[in-house]
C-alpha cells in the first residue's frame, strides 16, 4: 500500500468515527426518497399508463422505428457519420465508451477527490453529460423519417381482424398472400360498402358459387373489415384532369416520372408507400402529419372533388 493510501484509510476511519449510525439517519433519507420516487411513478403509471400500439406488422415498411428515449442520443450522434461508417460507429462508439468508463479509476488514480482539484476529469464529465443531454434533446425534436400517419381506428381494427381470421390464407393484398380468392387491393373501390357488408354477412348471398366460408361476424366486425378493405387500393379511377392538376400545382416542387422539380420528394411510386387516407390528409394539410413541412396546404385552394381526384391519381402511382 502506498503511503497516501494508508493516510487515506486513517483519515477515512476518523471521518467514520465522527459520523452517525447508518440506521436510522441514512436509512430515513433513503426511505423518504424511495417514497417520493414511488409516488412519482404511481402518478405516471395511473395518468399516462403504458401505451400499446397496433399489433406488430412485419409488412408495414412505412412504420417509424422510434428507439426508447435513452437511446436517442446515440442515434442523434450517429447522424454525424457518413453512411458507410454509421453502422460501424453504432457499435464501436458505445463499446469504447463502456471501456473508457471501466478504465476511469485507473486513469484518474491519485488521491485528489475534489472536483476542482481534478479539472480535466470534471470538465470531461460535464462535457459528456452535457453532450448526452443535448443530443437527447435534439433527438426528441428531430422529425420522424416517415411521418406518423393518422390511422383510422376502424381500419386498424379491421386489419387486426384480417390477421386473426387468417384471411391471407386465401386472399392477397397487392400480390402478397393466398391465391384462392381475389386480390383485395383490386376489390377496394370497385364494390360499395353495402355490397361488402352483405358479402361479409354471407358471401354466397351476393356472390353465388363463392367458396368463401360464412364467418359469423359481429356487426362491428363487419364494419371494421369493410373499412379496412376499402382503405386498400386506389379508391377507384381518376379523371383525366388529375395529371393536369398535378402538373399545374405540384410539379413546381415534386417529380413525377422524370418530370418536375426536386424540392419535395419524387412521387412516382407514392401509391406503393402510402395508403390513400394518408395521401389525402397530406394534400389537405401537410403540417398535420409533418409539422415542419414547407409544403403549402391545399385545403381551400382546391375543391374537395379535386383533392379526391388527385389522391386517386397519386394512389395509382405504384
Amino acid at each position: 500500500m502506498k503511503p497516501w493510501q494508508e493516510a487515506y484509510e486513517k483519515r477515512y476511519k476518523a471521518a467514520k468515527e465522527r459520523g452517525r449510525s447508518f440506521f436510522p439517519y441514512a436509512v430515513f433519507k433513503d426511505a423518504l426518497v424511495a417514497l417520493i420516487v414511488f409516488g412519482v411513478l404511481s402518478y405516471l403509471a395511473i395518468h399516462f399508463g403504458a401505451k400499446l400500439e397496433e399489433l406488430a406488422d412485419p409488412t408495414d415498411t412505412t412504420y417509424n422505428p422510434r428507439p426508447e428515449w435513452y437511446f436517442l442520443f446515440l442515434f442523434q450522434a450517429l447522424k454525424a457519420f457518413p453512411g458507410s461508417l454509421e453502422s460501424v460507429a453504432a457499435v464501436v462508439l458505445p463499446g469504447a465508451a463502456i471501456l473508457l468508463l471501466i478504465a476511469v479509476p485507473f486513469m484518474d488514480s491519485g488521491p485528489l477527490r475534489h472536483p476542482l482539484n481534478r479539472p480535466f476529469w470534471t470538465a470531461l464529465g460535464i462535457f459528456a453529460a452535457g453532450g448526452v443531454a443535448t443530443l437527447t434533446f435534439f433527438g426528441l425534436r428531430s422529425p420522424l423519417l416517415n411521418p406518423t400517419q393518422e390511422r383510422n381506428p376502424q381500419v386498424m381494427a379491421g386489419k387486426r381482424l384480417f390477421s386473426e381470421l387468417n384471411c391471407a390464407y386465401c386472399h392477397r393484398i397487392n400480390g402478397k398472400g393466398g391465391k384462392v380468392g381475389p386480390d383485395l387491393a383490386a376489390v377496394a373501390g370497385t364494390r360499395s360498402d353495402d355490397w361488402l357488408k352483405a358479402h361479409f354477412r354471407n358471401p354466397k348471398a351476393v356472390s353465388p358459387g363463392s367458396v368463401m366460408p360464412k364467418l359469423n361476424l359481429l356487426p362491428e366486425e363487419i364494419d371494421d373489415l369493410t373499412a379496412y378493405v376499402q382503405s386498400l387500393g386506389t379508391g377507384g379511377p381518376y379523371s383525366p384532369e388529375a395529371p393536369k392538376l398535378f402538373a399545374a400545382d405540384c410539379e413546381v416542387c415534386h417529380t413525377m416520372h422524370g418530370k418536375g422539380a426536386d424540392i419535395g420528394p419524387d412521387l412516382s411510386h407514392i401509391g406503393a408507400a402510402r395508403e390513400r387516407g394518408f395521401i389525402k390528409n397530406y394534400i389537405m394539410n401537410p403540417a398535420n402529419t409533418k409539422p415542419d413541412s414547407i409544403m403549402p396546404s391545399f385545403k381551400g385552394q382546391l375543391t374537395g372533388l379535386q383533392i379526391e381526384d388527385l389522391t386517386r391519381y397519386l394512389a395509382h402511382q405504384r
Binding site: 487515506y8 483519515r11 467514520k16 401505451k51 475534489h114
Partner: protein, 237 residues
C-alpha cells in the same frame, strides 16, 4: 456466545442465526456524515435499488398474465391493460420504472463520478457499477420487444441490425439474438428468457457484489479541498 443471550427467545434466535451481528454490520455501522443538500445525493444508489426491487415485483406479477409468443403476446398485454385487476397500474409502474431506472442509475453514476468516489479503495465498486449500467440497458432493450406491437417489433429490428454491424462477430450476434435469420417466435422467446431469467440472475449477482463492496469499504466521505491539501503532503504518490 453472544453477550445478548439472557436466556430469552431473542437471545436464542441471535445465537442460532447471528442476525444481531448482521444487523450491526449492515445498519448499526457508522458512516461519515455529509452536510446539507450533498447528503441527499447519497440516496441515489438506494433509490436505484428500490426501483430495481419494484421492477422485480411488478415484472413477476406481469409475467403471471403474459404469454411470450408472437401469436398471443399482444393480446395478453392488452388483456393486462384492460382486464387484469390493477393490470393497467402494474404495467404502467413497470414501464415508467424502466425509465426511472435509467435516470437514477445515470444520476447515481454522475454523483460518484464528480465526487471521485471511484478512487482508492473503491475502484471495484465503480467497475461493477459500469457492468450494472450495461445490464440495465440490456433490460430495456429486451423488454421493449415483449408487447409485440409495432414499436416493439421495429425498434428490435433496428437494434438487432445494429448488433449485426459489430466487426467480425456481427452476423453471428444478429443470428443469436433473433434465433435465426428472421425475427419471429424464436426472437421473442429468446428476449423473454434473457429478460426474465438471464439478466435478473446477472444483475442479482452484480448488485450483491456492489453492495458488499459499499459496506466493506464504507461509503466515501464528501470530498473537501482541505482533505485534498492534506493528501498532497503525503510523500510518494
Amino acid at each position: 456466545m453472544s453477550a445478548s443471550n439472557d436466556g430469552g427467545p431473542r437471545g436464542w434466535l441471535y445465537e442460532r442465526t447471528g442476525v444481531d451481528r448482521v444487523w450491526d454490520a449492515l445498519f448499526a455501522r457508522k458512516v461519515p456524515e455529509a452536510q446539507g443538500w450533498v447528503s441527499w445525493l447519497y440516496t441515489l444508489g438506494s433509490a436505484t435499488l428500490f426501483v430495481f426491487v419494484l421492477q422485480a415485483v411488478t415484472g413477476t406479477l406481469l409475467a403471471m398474465n403474459y404469454v411470450p409468443s408472437p401469436d398471443h403476446a399482444y393480446d395478453s398485454v392488452r388483456y393486462i391493460n384492460t382486464s387484469v385487476v390493477m393490470g393497467h397500474y402494474l404495467r404502467g409502474l413497470h414501464h415508467w420504472g424502466a425509465s426511472a431506472m435509467v435516470v437514477l442509475v445515470g444520476l447515481h453514476m454522475l454523483r460518484t463520478y464528480f465526487m471521485g468516489a471511484y478512487k482508492y479503495p473503491r475502484e471495484g465498486t465503480w467497475m461493477i457499477g459500469v457492468l450494472l449500467l450495461v445490464v440495465v440497458i440490456g433490460f430495456g432493450f429486451t423488454g421493449y420487444l415483449l408487447p409485440w406491437d409495432q414499436k416493439a417489433y421495429w425498434a428490435t429490428m433496428v437494434g438487432t441490425n445494429i448488433a449485426g454491424q459489430t466487426p467480425f462477430i456481427g452476423p453471428y450476434l444478429k443470428k443469436i439474438f433473433r434465433g435465426g435469420p428472421e425475427m419471429g417466435a424464436a426472437t421473442m422467446t429468446r428476449f423473454y428468457a434473457l429478460h426474465v431469467l438471464v439478466l435478473p440472475a446477472i444483475v442479482g449477482a452484480l448488485i450483491m457484489g456492489h453492495l458488499f463492496l459499499v459496506v466493506w469499504h464504507g461509503i466515501s466521505e464528501p470530498p473537501t479541498r482541505a482533505a485534498d491539501a492534506d493528501a498532497e503532503k503525503e510523500p510518494g504518490r
